[in-house]
Subunit: 81 residues, 2 copies
């Protein structure tokens, strides 16, 4: 069954306190050489049937309206397998 992956990340110009916190923890744990960390969400969507144009269009609509906040986030949608 085809799988669609949607990655949702904060836009580059939006501050990411979660990513900052992770980066601070890296430093405290002795991991250096990291310039930046951004944290986002990943959705793995398994389809019942084929990844038709209509099914993908529906998921683009969901990614924009439900999975992300277009004011501060951008998403990447791709079909895998």
């Amino acid at each position: 069954m085809p799988r669609v992956v949607v990655d949702v990340m904060l836009k580059p110009e939006i501050l990411d306190p979660q990513g900052r916190a992770v980066m601070g923890a890296f430093t405290r744990l002795g991991v250096h050489g990291v310039a930046d960390v951004r944290q986002g969400k990943r959705f793995e969507i398994t389809l019942d049937g084929d990844a038709t144009d209509e099914a993908i269009a529906d998921l683009h609509r969901m990614a924009e309206e439900l999975l992300s906040n277009p004011v501060i986030e951008s998403y990447d949608l791709r079909v895998e397998e």
Copy 2:
């Protein structure tokens, strides 16, 4: 600058209430043909320097100890660019 992506997902045998909620919302919004939704985390880590074996080993350690909970989650780490 090289970028390392770490995806953290719940293990397949662990129930995912967030994914379930998303799937329920899909159905209510008229999107059918979805068999399953799983929600996880995505980390984009930008390195200061090269993606040396040592830097990657450090990040594997962080992925296991800090970014994921190995009891219920698995992670995938890859170097991009």
